[in-house]
């Protein structure tokens, strides 16, 4: 009954009410998505500017001009911050979580719709503060996304008296938005599930977003405290992190990485969940070892709290501590490898098809593997002492973050686009975009592994200041990386065209174009306000594909028999 009035009101409400101040989880999900996409464009263009500077030092960058050292630092810092806090988290967790959770657990909204809207508004504010911080006197903050004090703690050191505090305020606001959002997600999944939806019937991507949200809540607290202390150092003049006044800069590193390393898993787990959904659908097979995947995900979460100091092997920590953290770090590769094997076992013997989402999902597994394997070198304190803060590290973490934040996100967008917007995307353009993304990606970062081993330190404005690093070989590799980046960025235009053209002109999508089992596909495409005409009941797990003896090769969760 409430649904009729709601649909009525929604259809007649002003644009303002329907799109800006809506409390509908799908609208909020789309708001997060579009904000995240806009930030991705900004973050991507930033990498274009600073990579051009590295390939052709001091030459004006087309479309930007000459890059000064201060600008270079600000660009790098904000590129990293944007990609992690304003792209990966909002898109993978907030956008997908908002859109998918109520639909996949079979209810009509989040349990706190207005809190949900508030969390987006705070997030939007945080993005505006961050962009604003680039325009204040002194320029944007350039002390790296890790914001190590004492450099970050005093305007006199970092020369950005307004940029640094504003950057910190932006990050803090973003944390508040995600804490509110996470509480909403977790309570929604705990309490608002459809009748019959047992814990073991919850789709993997929902589980992963929930575990990620809990991980975030548990890890970010100390950093929130640290951020307050750093802000006091910056604007009041306390000396928490300044050794000159009895403080300790290492304290920040502990607080930061206690959060920073789990953060990798906060964004990784949802990406793993996306891949699980997609490969089961397109290989028409049950997810291999559902329970084990869940347990490993939770185990990875716990382990991720015990590894943080591997970022501090060269920071002057006790060598015995370094040994300990080497061991825990290497241990964490076991659950991750296990999940990869689960994916491969799921594919094994399936009847596999390769539409665009599947290509991206498979590419995620392959590329992430390289990131994982190179991480072993860095987790061992012995090799890390040589490789620390070189482009080897940089290439390693881009081999983990790029698959997570970009490749898995594309897989998700191509997969759920029909449900989100009621239209199909063009598969041929999708495949062009796929190859145009994945091939150049490797040509950016493989060269950077090599320059890293050749001694290129990261966060360097111009290697001309280090003549030893200006060999033709290294310089050519830098140019290869930069040219590949330009190619990669150009291919994103194909995506943007496909996305927005399909949004308005794409063929109408059926309710279940991929013949998938999970509940979101039983709602109309796009789902109306209130999602389901009648609330579904759930009878089985999400991955009953190709069950012997059934006419269809799928068996939706809500079908009684």
């Amino acid at each position: 009954m409430s649904h009729d009035t709601a649909a009525h009101a929604a259809a007649h409400g002003s644009v303002w009410r329907r799109w800006v101040f809506s409390t509908d989880h799908k609208v909020i999900g789309c708001q997060y998505l579009f904000t995240g996409m806009a930030m991705a464009v900004i973050g991507g263009l930033m990498s274009y500017v600073f990579r051009m500077q590295l390939a052709w030092p001091d030459a004006p960058v087309p479309g930007y001009g000459v890059v000064s050292p201060g600008e270079y630092n600000a660009l790098v810092t904000n590129h990293g911050s944007i990609m992690i806090f304003w792209v990966a988290m909002p898109v993978l967790i907030a956008a997908l979580g908002n859109f998918l959770i109520p639909l996949m657990i079979g209810c009509d909204d989040m349990v706190f719709p207005r809190l949900n809207r508030l969390s987006y508004q705070i997030f939007l504010l945080s993005a505006l503060v961050l962009l604003g911080s680039l325009a204040v006197p002194g320029g944007g903050f350039g002390g790296a996304w890790t914001s190590y004090p004492p450099l970050s703690a005093k305007g006199a050191y970092n020369l950005t008296p307004y940029g640094a505090p504003l950057w910190l305020v932006a990050v803090a606001l973003e944390f508040v938005a995600f804490l509110l959002g996470g509480i909403n997600f977790v309570t929604t999944v705990m309490n608002a599930r459809a009748p019959g939806m047992k814990a073991s019937y919850i789709p993997m991507v929902v589980w992963m977003i929930i575990i990620a949200s809990i991980l975030f809540m548990a890890s970010v607290g100390p950093l929130v405290a640290g951020a307050v202390m750093l802000l006091f150092d910056q604007i009041l003049g306390t000396r928490f992190f300044d050794p000159a006044g009895g403080g300790d800069p290492l304290l920040w590193q502990h607080l930061f990485w206690f959060f920073g390393h789990p953060e990798v898993y906060v964004v990784l787990l949802p990406a793993m969940g996306i891949v699980a959904e997609i490969i089961t659908v397109f290989s028409r097979k049950k997810l291999f070892a559902y329970n084990t995947v869940l347990l490993t995900a939770a185990g990875t979460g716990v382990l991720s709290f015990l590894v943080w100091a591997h970022h501090q092997f060269v920071a002057g920590i006790d060598p015995r501590m370094a040994h300990l953290f080497t061991v825990t770090t290497l241990l964490i590769s076991i659950p991750i490898a296990e999940m990869t094997f689960v994916f491969i076992a799921t594919l094994y013997g399936g009847s596999i098809t390769f539409p665009t989402p599947m290509l991206f999902a498979l590419a995620f597994i392959a590329e992430f593997l390289i990131g994982g394997v190179t991480g072993i070198f860095l987790g061992s304190s012995g090799t890390d002492i040589y490789l620390h803060d070189t482009y080897f590290v940089l290439a390693h973490f881009h081999y983990t973050f790029f698959p997570i934040a970009i490749i898995a996100t594309f897989a998700a967008l191509y997969f759920w686009f029909p449900k989100m917007f009621g239209r199909m995307m063009n598969d041929t353009l999708g495949k062009i975009h796929f190859w145009g993304t994945v091939i150049p990606f490797n040509f950016i970062f493989i060269p950077l592994f090599i320059t890293g081993m050749g001694g290129d330190h990261r966060r360097i404005y111009s290697y001309e200041n280090f003549p030893m690093q200006m060999t033709p070989f290294l310089q050519e590799l830098r140019i290869v990386a930069t040219v590949s980046l330009v190619i990669l960025l150009l291919f994103q235009v194909v995506f943007l065209f496909n996305f927005f053209w399909s949004l308005f002109r794409g063929p109408k999508a059926p309710a279940n174009p991929w013949r998938a089992n999970t509940l979101e596909w039983t709602a109309p495409s796009p789902p109306p306000h209130g999602n389901f005409a009648t609330m579904p009941s759930v009878y089985r797990g999400p991955y009953e594909y190709s069950v012997p003896g059934r006419a269809d090769d799928y068996w939706p969760q809500h079908v009684a028999n």
């Binding site: 409430s2 649904h3 009035t5 709601a6 009525h8 009101a9 929604a10 409400g13 009410r17 409390t23 109520p102 209810c107 009509d108 909204d109 989040m110 349990v111 706190f112 719709p113 207005r114 804490l179 996470g182 509480i183 909403n184 977790v186 309570t187 929604t188 705990m190 309490n191 608002a192 599930r193 939806m197 809540m217 548990a218 890890s219 970010v220 607290g221 100390p222 950093l223 929130v224 405290a225 640290g226 307050v228 202390m229 006091f232 009041l236 003049g237 306390t238 000396r239 928490f240 006044g245 009895g246 403080g247 300790d248 304290l251 607080l255 206690f258 306000h529 209130g530 609330m535």
Partner: protein, 193 residues
């Protein structure tokens, strides 16, 4: 629109636990790690700075002890308010909440007295990292007290008219947390010399 449409999701309870109670516990869980990080950092510093012993002797143990009693009493009022709300006696719950708010106000007054005497004796935020920690931790706790007072005022106003009585329990849980944080702050900054 917002008035017409009440999502079904808000009324479901697959766990059997009211959604509001779940949410409050998650809020507190994320708060615990915030205070946990701050206090863990403080303890590590304290171990490496023996001279903090002398600094800590300048905090006013009597005032802190008095405030501990005040907070514990206010928590008791919060419990009684919850009981009244359970019986459906909104006006009584509201009166007890006002008593809790009174306790919070006394706490803040004492705190203000402490801070001003300390500052006037030269123990400012900048004197030593000990004092930076002291003002940051007690300040953050004070912010929680103020937030609690605002929320309790709103909830009491509702409860007086027998509306949203379930919120009395939720604010009570929050208030016990604020109390519990103080139970950690008091020995760490006042007693442990």
């Amino acid at each position: 629109m917002s008035a017409a449409h009440v999502p079904l999701a808000t009324t479901r309870s697959a766990t059997g636990i009211p959604t509001g109670r779940l949410a409050v516990w998650w809020v507190l869980a994320s708060e615990i790690v915030i205070f946990g990080g701050l206090l863990a950092a403080y303890v590590m510093f304290r171990l490496h700075h023996p001279h903090w012993h002398a600094e800590a002797s300048h905090t006013n143990t009597w005032a802190g002890g008095f405030n501990t009693v005040v907070l514990l009493t206010s928590s008791l009022f919060a419990v009684l308010a919850h009981q009244a709300a359970l019986r459906g006696d909104g006006p009584r719950a509201a009166r007890l909440l006002y008593a809790t708010i009174g306790g919070a106000a006394i706490f803040l007054l004492v705190k203000a007295f402490e801070w001003s005497t300390e500052i006037s004796h030269g123990f400012t935020l900048f004197r030593d990292t000990f004092w930076s920690f002291y003002y940051t931790a007690t300040g953050l706790h004070g912010v929680h007290v103020v937030v609690g007072m605002i929320l309790m005022t709103l909830i009491a106003a509702d409860a007086r008219r027998d509306r949203n009585l379930h919120r009395v329990e939720l604010i009570g849980t929050y208030w016990h947390f604020v109390d519990a944080v103080w139970i950690f702050l008091f020995p760490l900054f006042y007693i442990a010399r």
